[in-house]
């Protein structure tokens, strides 16, 4: 975290490249990490990957409808970042949030059932893919208005500080969200009021079909924070341990000093923007996509672990088989669950 002492009072930073550039190679960090933690991170990423593959399959079969945005390729961001949070912390996400929900430990069945619009879904089928919630674990949603949740995150951070609770709010959004007014208003408030919030921008290079250079007047995006005097940095979003480390520092800063941080995680989305958008063709080439696939966050962690002798192909297969089973069960649960009843339409509009 760059928070130079010369400008400490405003937390101004001058980060340029990847924060993780200063980190040791992944192999070395993996060797130093707690093996059970690393296994958990790998399995969470795998769970998300398999879950999303299943969601795509069910979508193709017409068992999931509407708009559905998959997270494949970006798993290391949600898993690394959320692993750095405490159980009482809060999480806000955009509409591409299946991965965050699972990383936070939401029940895969309740998520899949929500995607399928079933009564057993986490929002009783009323929200669908873009509106996942589980307040019991501080998962405050899925928000399908780009940038619309950034002010909310400032609000929960404000309340935590006001109420003297050591809760940090983490807020995830895409690279295109830095261009909407709500981003700017929230950043100013967060810094002005010294709020315990970590803003994580998942820079996957595109907002739908528009590349960053056609949408943002400034790149690197994390430098947007300069205008608000907010601490900021970039991190390699395909390296789960790096994300965990950098977000972990920001979470500590927020918890101890009530200071916000802006983290730009560089990542890539392997699928189309949504299920109706082909993975490549209009706005990016297959070659570009293939190039990025070489940095697959799961493969990277797997090969690092294998190279230091911390993972065997058999152990990987075992983990994979285990998460596949969880996903199969989730899909079966969704399929067997009842549709909402017509009366459910009218419930929950107001709290009685």
């Amino acid at each position: 975290m760059k928070s130079g002492s010369a400008t400490e009072h405003r937390g101004v930073t001058e980060a340029n490249g990847f924060e993780s550039d200063r980190l040791a190679p992944l192999e070395e960090r993996a060797r130093g990490a707690d093996p059970s933690l690393v296994k958990d991170l790998l399995e969470k990423m795998l769970l998300i990957r398999r879950f999303e593959e299943k969601a795509a399959e069910l979508y193709a079969l017409g068992k999931i409808g509407g708009f559905c945005h998959l997270y494949i390729g970006q798993e290391a961001v949600a898993v690394g970042a959320i692993s750095a949070l405490g159980p009482d912390d809060y999480i806000f996400c955009s509409y591409r949030e299946h991965g965050h929900a699972l990383a936070r430990g939401m029940d895969a069945g309740a998520v899949m059932a929500e995607l399928a619009g079933k009564a057993t879904g986490c929002s009783k089928g009323k929200g669908g893919s873009m509106h996942l919630f589980d307040t019991r674990i501080g998962f405050l949603g899925g928000h399908a208005i780009v940038g619309g949740h950034l002010p909310l995150a400032a609000g929960t951070a404000f309340a935590a500080k006001y109420q003297n609770q050591p809760r940090v709010t983490a807020c995830f959004f895409g690279d295109a969200a830095v261009n909407i007014g709500a981003f700017h208003e929230s950043f100013n408030l967060a810094q002005l009021w010294n709020l315990p919030v970590v803003y994580v921008c998942e820079n996957n290079e595109f907002g739908m079909g528009t590349p960053i250079e056609k949408a943002s007047s400034i790149d690197p995006l994390h430098e947007r924070a300069c205008g608000y005097g907010m601490a900021h940095t970039a991190v390699d979003g395909m390296d789960v341990l790096a994300v965990r480390e950098v977000v972990g520092e920001a979470v500590e800063r927020a918890r101890r000093h009530n200071l916000p941080t802006f983290i730009e995680a560089r990542t890539y989305r392997y699928m189309g923007h949504s299920m109706s958008d082909p993975a490549h063709g209009t706005y990016r080439t297959r070659a570009e996509l293939d190039e990025h696939r070489r940095h697959d966050p799961i493969k990277r962690l797997t090969s690092a672990l294998e190279s230091i002798g911390a993972l065997t192909p058999e152990a990987f297969e075992e983990s994979d088989a285990q998460v596949r089973q969880v996903v199969e069960q989730a899909a079966a649960f969704a399929e067997e669950s009842p549709d909402p009843a017509s009366d459910d339409l009218h419930s929950d509009v107001y709290r009685d």
Binding site: G65, K126, I145, N179, A182, G207, M208, T210, P340
Partner: protein, 324 residues
């Protein structure tokens, strides 16, 4: 006559206006390279170039505000909202700036803001709203919501030529489902004029947007039972066509007001008040509203079906009213 979808009719209308008037330009998210989320602007970038088909950042407030500014300079911007739900992010620029510009200091604001609204595609609470009344309640704007491909083309052309800010509601469920003959030549459908979509004697069903098709479907069923519905398609909601509404109400003496928007504060309430004020003596029964309930639009397909008015609900209400 060529057969066009509702979507292609809008596209053709914009295309023709782009060819006709160099002051017309398009701006919006992913409208160029991507051709628009629903492909309404497909091919426009190739034809008219990046100067007139402008991909913007996700910045609804700046999209609308910059369009207002350009309109003040005599340009004719057509701004796309990727979904009409997101127009909320540009609301101040529409409701305070664009709508009151003329009243405050006199300039023309020839601006169109268009995009898909409405439910039926399982979009959930933020991608399905019928939010036309946010604007119908704002003097200084015009609001239109075509139901047919013919009207979609004629109304988008009229909207682009109009010197006032027009909010143009496209119904996403109709985009590719409606296919009809649309003249290849230049015509407009005037703003503020309703259309009698089907003549009938017993009950006037006054509606707009996708519900016009629902009304026509119910009319087809009921005619076999000896109940004759007249279907009025409002086409423009602000300013709306009082004469056509009152003529049909007086002719049939019974009225059903039908819309996909939720009930309280909907267009039906406005029309019911108009009819009560000006056609009270002609009525032979209570004015009936068929609308969505006062809830957000749910995602779950079966819930969404319960939410939306349909031909069966309309027909049931019409049978009751006919017997009144």
């Amino acid at each position: 006559m060529p057969i066009l979808t509702y979507l292609d009719a809008i596209r053709q209308g914009i295309w023709e206006e782009m060819e006709r008037d160099p002051a017309v330009f398009l701006l919006g998210e992913d409208i160029g390279v991507y051709g628009g989320a629903f492909k309404v602007t497909a091919g426009m970038l190739e034809k008219f170039g990046a100067e007139r088909v402008i991909d913007t950042p996700i910045s609804e407030s700046a999209i609308v505000g910059a369009a207002v500014g350009a309109a003040l300079m005599g340009m004719r911007p057509v701004a796309e909202m990727q979904f009409m739900d997101f127009i909320a992010c540009g609301f101040d620029q529409i409701a305070n700036m664009a709508a009151k510009m003329r009243y405050r200091w006199g300039p023309a604001v020839p601006l169109v803001i268009r995009g898909p609204a409405g439910a039926g595609v399982h979009g959930g609470p933020f991608h399905s709203q019928s939010n036309e009344m946010w604007f119908v309640h704002t003097p200084g704007l015009k609001v239109t919501a075509p139901a047919t491909a013919y009207d979609a083309k004629g109304l988008i052309k009229a909207s682009i030529r109009d010197d006032n800010p027009v909010i143009f509601f496209e119904h996403k469920f109709l985009y590719r489902r409606i296919k009809e003959e649309v003249p290849a030549d230049d015509y407009i459908v005037p703003l503020g004029k309703a259309r009698v979509a089907r003549e009938g004697d017993d009950i006037a069903v006054i509606t707009y947007g996708a519900m016009v098709w629902t009304a026509l479907e119910a009319a087809e069923t009921l005619v076999k039972e000896g109940i004759s519905l007249e279907v009025v398609d409002l086409r423009t909601l602000l300013p709306y066509d009082e004469d056509t509404v009152l003529t049909s109400a007086r002719k049939c003496s019974k009225v059903i007001l039908l819309h996909e928007d939720t009930r309280t504060g909907g267009m039906a309430g406005e029309l019911a008040a108009l009819i009560a004020e000006k056609a009270f003596e002609d009525l032979d029964g209570p004015v009936v509203r068929i609308t969505s309930p006062d809830t957000p639009v749910p995602f779950s397909p079966p819930l969404e079906e319960f939410f939306l008015p349909n031909a069966k609900r309309l027909a049931d209400a019409a049978r009751k009213l006919a017997a009144y």
